[in-house]
């Protein structure tokens, strides 16, 4: 400890003479950050109180009208939020549940664990576009793989235009999203499980604790921070889904698979309602920020316990 303190002091001295030069190292990063992060973050609030098409020189100040429009615009915006929340709910429970189950199995039964680990993380490295296009075809009504298999195994009556039917579209999309994403949860949860000292398990077993009891009394409490981390990542990743929607349903049928990111980008790509899109971005960013703050706060709370 003492030695460390001595070291830091030593490292301070030689460079303090020409400290200004130190800034040159940070300057490129700082410039990039200011231009492409900081400025847009500030600017988006400014833009959100204007009515502006993104091109014309004149902006019309409209105050909070854009925000009011969002609140009353329950047709598209709130449906898109509801859809995103539905997929997120499924991802949090089903996707992470499966990921935990698989991680638990691979952690315990290590034979071939390395291979499973590599294979499960394959979908996450693929782009949303490629995954969407592949699944688009698997789900395809007439020639799709899924319907083909149903036919082959004698369940032809269950055949469905999975992505075109309002009843199945959002869930079908969720399945693709979860297929692509569970590898993330799996890898992180597995690392968490492997970080738990084996001695704890052994001691519990010597004491005659059942596997179920060990799971609830040792694994779960120690894994809470990891659970929360995975949940934050799941929420942020799922709520902002976009690429998959573009290549599968484009928000349809109707608005059944519309998502917030697509709503925002739809408003700006033709250069139409930049102010409105900014306001949606602000609202959406705020929602995400609050949700992840709550989750992080929960993790701190559990850690303090």
């Amino acid at each position: 400890m003492e030695q460390r303190a001595g070291n830091t002091k030593k490292s301070d001295s030689p460079f303090t003479w020409h400290m200004a030069g130190n800034y040159f190292f940070v300057l490129p990063a700082l410039l990039m950050f200011l231009i492409f992060n900081f400025y847009p973050y500030i600017q988006v609030f400014f833009l959100s109180v204007f009515k502006w098409n993104g091109i014309s020189l004149s902006k019309t100040f409209v105050g909070l009208a854009n925000y009011k429009d969002i609140i009353s615009d329950n047709v598209s915006w709130w449906i898109s939020m509801k859809n995103a929340a539905y997929v997120t709910g499924l991802a949090l429970t089903v996707q992470n549940g499966v990921a935990l189950m698989l991680a638990w199995m691979v952690d315990r039964d290590i034979r071939g664990g390395q291979i499973y680990r590599s294979i499960f993380f394959l979908p996450p490295i693929l782009s949303g576009i490629v995954v969407g296009l592949i699944w688009n075809w698997i789900y395809q009504g007439d020639y799709g793989l899924l319907n083909g298999l149903l036919d082959k195994f004698g369940y032809g009556h269950l055949k469905e235009a999975w992505l075109a039917n309002p009843k199945t579209a959002l869930t079908a999309l969720s399945v693709v999203h979860m297929w692509k994403g569970f590898g993330w949860g799996f890898i992180i949860l597995l690392a968490g499980l492997q970080g738990i000292p084996r001695e704890l398990y052994e001691a519990a077993r010597v004491d005659g604790a059942s596997e179920v009891r060990i799971f609830w009394k040792i694994t779960v409490p120690l894994m809470i921070p990891v659970f929360i981390l995975v949940s934050v990542l799941t929420v942020l990743g799922t709520m902002q889904m976009y690429d998959l929607v573009i290549t599968t349903t484009r928000g349809g049928p109707g608005l059944h698979t519309e998502v917030p990111m697509k709503r925002i980008l739809d408003e700006i790509t033709p250069g139409s309602r930049v102010g409105y899109a900014s306001a949606m971005g602000v609202v959406f960013g705020a929602v995400l920020l609050v949700v992840s703050m709550i989750q992080i706060q929960l993790s701190k709370w559990f850690k303090a316990e």
């Binding site: 400290m19 940070v26 990039m32 490629v130 920020l289």
Partner: protein
């Protein structure tokens, strides 16, 4: 194994042990059955894509075989030229290379300064950078788009790459700073005695030592840039500038009839990633878990 040894020995242990062993076999069979079926579900769609890329327009919907009897390797050549996937591929490679080197250079410079130097405002700046990892992006994408219009960077390579370089900086700093901090002070002193200045220490001591960390940053930046789609759609309009992801969507939207070519194009976009993944998967997985759990 240890569990078996430590398991309490009972009076009727022979029966117990046999049933225990039997139960273990059943349990591991169930586990492997589940794991293998999930694994197949992960690989199968990719295999299906590759096999479809080798079929003809006539057989692609009827021929359900995994290995087509008459593989049309010509599809790849046709996608490359006719579908312009050659152009897209070139663009993706270019964007990925430039962004990786941009991120490595800018992030390593800053991380080095944050790790080894003292200057006013150091911590405030560092946390300002890291906060960008926390704040969700959707709020700013609109303003970023407007900014790119004002800078005249819409439909330019620069306009596509600069925001992505910026996007990679936070992770780069996050991984590189602790790495630079761990470099022993003695090495720095030795280099200074040999006549190295700040830049010399950065270039001749820190960078060579940081190769493993730089590789992790390079990997994640490559993955992110190679798979990027949203910004490309927002910024790029000329077909000659499009990366593979956007090219795929344009191709899919334009000529839906040529499925094997689309599949070949997708394969072209996936092959480099899968090859890289096969060789580097251990590092990628280690990087994911280390980055996630330390953060």
């Amino acid at each position: 194994m240890e569990a078996e040894i430590l398991y309490p020995v009972r009076k009727w242990f022979t029966v117990e042990r046999i049933s225990l062993r039997l139960w273990r076999v059943v349990k591991s069979t169930i586990k492997h059955t589940i794991l293998i079926s999930v694994a197949i579900s992960c690989i199968f769609p990719l295999v299906w894509m590759f096999s479809s890329a080798l079929k003809t327009n006539a057989t692609v919907f009827t021929d359900m075989s995994l290995i087509p009897s008459d593989p049309q390797f010509i599809n790849f050549a046709e996608a490359w030229t006719k579908g312009k996937f050659g152009v897209y591929f070139f663009n993706s490679v270019l964007y990925t290379l430039v962004c990786v080197f941009g991120v490595l250079f800018i992030a390593s410079l800053a991380a080095f300064a944050f790790a080894r130097f003292q200057f006013p405002g150091k911590n405030a700046l560092y946390y300002l950078f890291l906060i960008t990892l926390m704040i969700p992006v959707p709020g700013a994408i609109v303003a970023l788009y407007v900014l790119l219009i004002h800078l005249g960077l819409i439909d330019t390579r620069l306009g596509y790459m600069l925001p992505q370089i910026n996007g990679g900086l936070a992770l780069g700093l996050f991984i590189l700073r602790p790495f630079f901090e761990r470099i022993p002070k003695d090495l720095e002193d030795a280099a200074r005695i040999d006549g190295c200045g700040r830049w010399g220490i950065y270039w001749h001591v820190a960078i060579p030592l940081a190769k493993p960390a730089l590789a992790v940053v390079a990997l994640f930046t490559s993955l992110a840039v190679w798979n990027e789609f949203m910004l490309a759609q927002l910024v790029l309009q000329s077909q000659s500038l499009m990366p593979l992801q956007l090219g795929l969507v344009k191709f899919w939207g334009g000529t839906l009839t040529e499925y094997p070519l689309l599949m070949a194009g997708m394969a072209i976009s996936v092959i480099p990633i899968v090859i890289a993944y096969i060789f580097l998967q251990k590092h990628i997985i280690a990087g994911v878990t280390a980055g996630a759990l330390k953060g």
